[in-house]
Structures are given as C-alpha cells and as structure tokens.
Symmetry: C2
Subunit: 273 residues, 2 copies
C-alpha cells in the first residue's frame, strides 16, 4: 500500500485528521527522563504509544534530532512506530532539496536509512530535484507550498502572472509532479485564505497543515477552508501543544488529553462542513 492509501486508511480507522509532530527539545523533556542517554527516544516513543489511536500520522522533525547528535534515536523511534503501530504512516519533516545524485542521497536518507513513509521537500530547485523521490511510488512527497511563518510572504506570495508563486507550485504539483499519485502539499494553518486558494487549485490532493496549537492557527477555519469534498484531505499537525502538555511524570497522559481534545475539535468542525 502506498503512503496516500495508508494515510486514507488511518483517517478512517482513527476518525482523525490529527498528526502529532515529534519535535523534541531536550531541555523540555520531563526531568525524570532527561538524564537518560536515550531521553529523546524515551520521551517521543511514550508520546507515540499514548496517542497512536488518535492520529492519522506521526511527523518527526529531523533538525531536533540532528542538532543533538540523535540520529540513532530517530532511527529507533521510526522503527518503533512501524513495529508497534504499523498502520500509522510516518512523515519525516526534513524539507530537503538538492539536485542530481545529491537528491538521491537525501532520498535514501529519508526512505531507506530512516524508513519514512513520506518526506517534506522544498520545491525551489524544480522538478528534476524531486524525481528520485517521486519515483519511489509507494512513498509520499510533501512539497512546501505556503508555509505558516510571517516571512512566507517574502517569496511565496510574489506575484507571478497575476497569481502568487505558491499557487504556481500547487499547480505544478498537480499537473506535472503527481503522475504517480504520491504528492501532497504543506500549507500553514495560520493563513486560512491561502489554504482555501490551494484547495481550490489541487482538487483532493492531501494538505499537511502545521500551525495550529502553539502557532495560533484556527482549527475551524482550517477545516472549513482545507477539507476535500469528503471532509478529509488534511493532515493537521500539532507538535508543542501535545508534546509539552505537562512537564511532569504525567506528560504522556497529558499529551493524550490534548490530542483527544484536538481531534474532537477537528471532528466537530468537520461535522459543520
């Protein structure tokens, strides 16, 4: 089964569009785990185990591991998810982008070394830079389109033939890069109008939407503007609000509470659609 099929199945099985982002900050890991040599793995895997029935995907963010020399813990974490929760796809948030043989090395890093089901990529280098990833048909390729930060407008909103650049990215993703049906796009929750314009351009292509929770995106607006015709089509990612719901020994239970509440808020908004 390809990434998008696995994602669809998880949407339905867990009745959830929620994705938990795994962005471990060593100094925010609860004190009773912090001194362990595998603190990052221990922290993330417990969050995973208490939220796996509430999500459609997990999304580890690679810089949080790389800055802490924790590549081995990232390998272990993804292997843990595959072993214990084989129905939940893993998106490696890496935002890679390079050309030629280097793109192939990044592809092997994401899909073979780490065993991710999908990876986020930056489209600035154009279609040939995406090819090695697109050719892995059973894996997902999630392209940055309109990101959730204020500076997104510096480049992504520049007007190209009367429309912002990010819509040209969305259109190329649909018309050219999605020939194996394994593409999705990143659109930030903090810009619901832009989300609606992307949805209007890409049909039912899935959209990965970060920016709810700590970044302040409005769940109702995201669902209303981002869902496809089946009230699906979204991977709504929350990281810090879930991971750091408590800094005590109850952190995993607290994370579950927030994940439950977020899934319910998303589903309430879906019922309004």
């Amino acid at each position: 089964m390809g990434f998008l099929q696995r994602l669809s199945a998880a949407w339905r099985r867990n009745d959830s569009l929620l994705c938990v982002g795994l962005d471990p900050e060593p100094e925010r890991i609860p004190r009773h785990l912090r001194d362990r040599s595998d603190a990052i793995f221990q922290f993330c895997s417990r969050i995973v185990d208490t939220t796996a029935d509430l999500v459609c995907a997990f999304k580890p963010q690679i810089a949080h591991f790389a800055a802490n020399r924790a590549e081995a813990q990232l390998e272990d974490l993804i292997a843990h998810i595959h072993r214990r929760h084989p129905d939940i796809p893993v998106i490696l948030d890496a935002k890679r982008g390079d050309i030629g043989s280097t793109a192939s090395h990044y592809m092997h890093e994401a899909f073979d070394r780490y065993g991710a089901d999908a990876v986020t990529l930056n489209p600035y280098l154009g279609g040939d830079a995406l090819e090695p990833f697109l050719e892995r048909r059973e894996r997902g390729v999630i392209l940055l389109c309109r990101t959730s930060n204020p500076g997104a407008r510096d480049v992504q909103d520049l007007p190209v033939e009367g429309r912002p650049l990010y819509l040209h990215i969305a259109e190329q993703a649909c018309r050219r890069w999605n020939r194996h049906g394994n593409c999705a796009l990143v659109v930030g929750a903090t810009y619901p109008d832009e989300l609606a314009r992307v949805r209007g351009t890409v049909g039912s292509m899935p959209l990965l939407v970060p920016g709810i929770g700590a970044q302040g995106g409005d769940i109702e607006a995201v669902v209303r503007n981002g869902c496809d015709d089946h009230q699906e089509g979204l991977i709504i990612s929350s990281s810090r609000a879930v991971l750091y719901a408590s800094d005590g020994e109850d952190f995993a239970a607290a994370a579950r509470t927030i994940a439950l509440r977020t899934r319910e808020a998303i589903n309430a908004a879906r019922r309004e659609c």
Copy 2:
C-alpha cells in the same frame, strides 16, 4: 574574523577562487581504503591535505554523509580541516530551510555541531527563516539563487514583475538579509547569462558557483560573467572531477593535478578580464 574576511584572505593567499566539494560516494572510494570503517574520512581528508594550498574553501555536502550514517566522519573531517588548514573556510552544503525554533536547530547543527564557517540555505521560506543564521555574524549564509540543474527554470525563472524570481531573491539578499555583511549566493556555472544578471544585481557579494567539471560549466564564461571588479568574488566549486580523478592508490595526487589545472584555468580567465 568573519567568513567573508577568511574567504577573501584565502582567495589572496592561495591565489585561488577554486573550492573543492567533498561529495564522497562510497562505491567510488579507491579499493585500498573502501573497507575501512572510516573510509569516507580517510578518503576526504587525503583529498583535503593534497589540495589545501590550492583552494579558497572546502565544501562538504551533508547528504553524502547522512545517507551512509557517517555524521561522525563529517564531524571529524571538518575538525581535521580546521586543525590542519586553519586558514581555509569550510562551507557545509546542506540547503536547509525551516522556520522558528526548527531553524535554530538547523543553525546549531551546521555551526555548532559541525563547526562550519558557512552553510547553504534555501530561501523559499523567507526572511524570518534565515534570521537565526544571519545573527551569527561571523558565519556565512549562502542562499540558493539560480541553481545549475535544468529544472531550476520551473520555479527560479518564473516572471515576477517582469524579472525572473531568482533576481528578486538576489535583490532581497542585498537589500534586507545582508545587514551584517555575511551573505553570499549560489548561482550555477551552467547558466552564465543568469550569472551575469545576478552579478549586475548584487555588487561585490560573493557567488558560490557549482557546475564546472562533471556538470559541464564553462570556466571562462563563469569568470567573465561572475567576477567582481577585483577579479574576485567567486567560489568556483568542483567536486567529482577532483575527487574521482583516479580510482587507484594515486587518487590524492591525481586530485591535486586536477585542482592545480582548474585553478590555473580560472586564473588564466581572470587575467583576460
């Protein structure tokens, strides 16, 4: 001394605009080294030691290490360059790009974990994504502008208010992002006309130019179109042609021969300017 000062000093001391790119491919490492557990380090450090008096920078490409679980060898390699060749700046070719606290983690990965003097970044996410890097004033921030691959045109050449997108990136780099004087841009050798347009936009800002050698860029056109008013301003990168000049035990000497010849071809073209 900041990155750009160190780069300028190396241009002059070694009379060289040549940068050797360190893109190790395990299956192309000479047979007598290939089975060592630190084969990548052994291979790259010998190339470094035989070419250090001929270059203005070394540029390790991180995907080639990451795909082979060789992060520790990359750390060792950069430490080796700093220790043995302290006057040669190291550019980590990583093309990172992310927002908020994640950008800070990538910044720590490049500058603190690996100790790079400069890093390549992707500008698609806009100015705030560059901030944590720009604030490290003594380090260099080298932004993708017009890359050397055919697909570069898919996005970078899109017309924005009558000019291609890549020139808007060049202009924002000059006007907004270079306030600490630590920016440079990537422009591929394979598109000399675009190189001339970028040079015309950015004054004396250094340009990192990959694509000579294996990718076929023309040295004379690069120098003519890319140099600043002092016949400097370029970091002309060659990887495969130098690294794989021989697959035998003489690989390091063969790499030196190619590096010497390339430096001389560049300098001959500079004298014509």
